[in-house]
Symmetry: C2
Subunit: 301 residues, 2 copies
């Protein structure tokens, strides 16, 4: 119970997973300024946008422009979400170090989200994975609804492992396991990681929690106890859930940093700079972000 890793890598997904759920459109210039601030916090990886069809995610319609204009910090890996070959082409033109493909562990969520069955999704992703690999880009496979599906309910670890196995076989470098609706409690995390860490290499596993029900920090604590060293987080807890007003989005980078610093786990992230980037985005969006820690920032919205 007392064992956790010495070093944790945080991927900041606020500019993608956070903004895509925000109603307010942030200007390209503000996005660029903000991502540049994030680039100087010590965060090692930033998912800067999504190359999904802008019809589906208008908030990120300027992905290409953002990718071209951000100032690249050589210590940061810049990745973006890519759904298909068209998205990958745009992402490559805009500049990426990593490409993130995505699908769901549950059939109905995959159908709803990607408009294809799970089996028919693999070949689409495979083409993207192959090309991204040929281009020397890191490829991440996001697997959504790994605990609960909003349409099917509980998702079994076996279902999740099946998708992970296929994606790894198809060439992704790593898997990010998403608690998409933020419903999991630590016993579910235990049940899944029991299977995952005995079957897959730990260093390829990223945990991606949403704080919808306030369980994310406890779930991260549980993951740490399994030796998981990588987490997706969103500054200020940006994101929310369009279906639940007031609900939190991704777990807040700030709250995770508070936990990790308290546990004596190294992240390389400068808390002060992170808070400055939090204030910036909070003021730009004109609303209080869900992170508990952001309440401690002076001059907030």
């Amino acid at each position: 119970m007392r064992n956790w890793p010495d070093f944790i890598t945080i991927k900041e997904v606020g500019p993608r997973d956070g903004l895509q759920n925000e109603k307010k459109f942030l200007s390209t210039e503000d996005k660029v300024t903000w991502i540049n601030m994030l680039s100087n916090t010590g965060i090692k990886e930033i998912e800067y946008s999504s190359f999904v069809n802008p019809k589906w995610i208008p908030a990120l319609a300027d992905a290409k422009e953002v990718g071209k204009r951000i100032k690249r910090n050589p210590s940061v890996l810049y990745s973006a979400l890519v759904p298909n070959m068209k998205g990958l082409e745009n992402a490559l033109e805009a500049g990426i170090d990593g490409a993130s493909v995505f699908m769901s562990a549950s059939e109905s969520h995959n159908l709803k989200n990607i408009n294809k069955s799970i089996d028919k999704t693999y070949p689409v992703l495979k083409e993207v994975i192959d090309t991204a690999n040929e281009e020397g880009k890191k490829v991440t496979g996001y697997v959504s609804t790994v605990f609960d599906c909003p349409y099917e309910g509980r998702v079994s670890p076996e279902q999740v492992l099946r998708v992970c196995d296929q994606l790894l076989e198809d060439g992704v470098d790593e898997i990010s396991l998403g608690d998409t609706i933020g419903s999991a409690v630590p016993s579910q995390v235990q049940a899944l990681l029991d299977e995952i860490v005995t079957r897959l290499p730990k260093e390829k596993i990223i945990m991606h929690f949403h704080d919808t029900r306030g369980m994310a920090i406890a779930n991260i604590m549980t993951s740490l106890q399994f030796g998981i060293t990588r987490f997706d987080t969103s500054i200020g807890g940006l994101g929310g859930c369009p279906y639940a007003p007031g609900a939190a989005g991704n777990v807040a980078t700030n709250d995770v940093l508070y936990l990790l610093n308290g546990l004596g786990i190294y992240t390389g992230i400068d808390e002060q700079k992170l808070q400055e980037a939090s204030i910036y985005i909070q003021n730009k969006l004109g609303k209080k972000l869900p992170s508990r820690s952001v309440a401690f920032i002076e001059g907030t919205a």
Copy 2:
């Protein structure tokens, strides 16, 4: 890591610890209606008010009136905060099943909060404890700042144990250990409970977390792993912190219930009735409460 108790007892402290930090004064009638709703949720214990001098906590100046007017559910234990003999007399007149005395584990917080040194606090409490015991009331000893003190920083488990030992010797039936400023992370909880559970009977220990930094659910999870079966919580996360606008207060009863239900731990609390009481107080206070789960209630402020 997989072991936790089958049954947990929640003490609802919203009407006291929650309201005492709210700026808006809730009318006596609204308090009574709300406490009556709480009495029907299945919660086993409610701290209904504080008999501290109203000069210090004007929000609860009507403690006596509230105590006299609430409809007592025989399955619920009704307790109140009492600082001294005057407070206890009033509380006894108003009707209590339990009296809660309080002090801090850190000298400076105790001085600031009670205006006495720790050593000079014991005799004041002893008189209250003795009288409450003679009257057949359960006596709880709240110990504040058991992890961190806002003036002294880290508080050692030894300091905490010293205060607990003295209070138990002086006749309290149980101890509630308070993370007053909501700063603790699970490693601190582990360090304290390592000492506590080997030296004191577990069933006399209540953990009292604030969710100021979003760590409370992880800290409760950690406490469960030590076999702790009793927690103080506040409906909706009511309370906040007067020094940090937007900060959360006591850990939300709703979020704790979500965790415990998810873990398969029995509490006896009816989630629907709890949500109704949450909506009621949220609408009366006219603001969104910090609980993540309250966002899921329809018809909220």
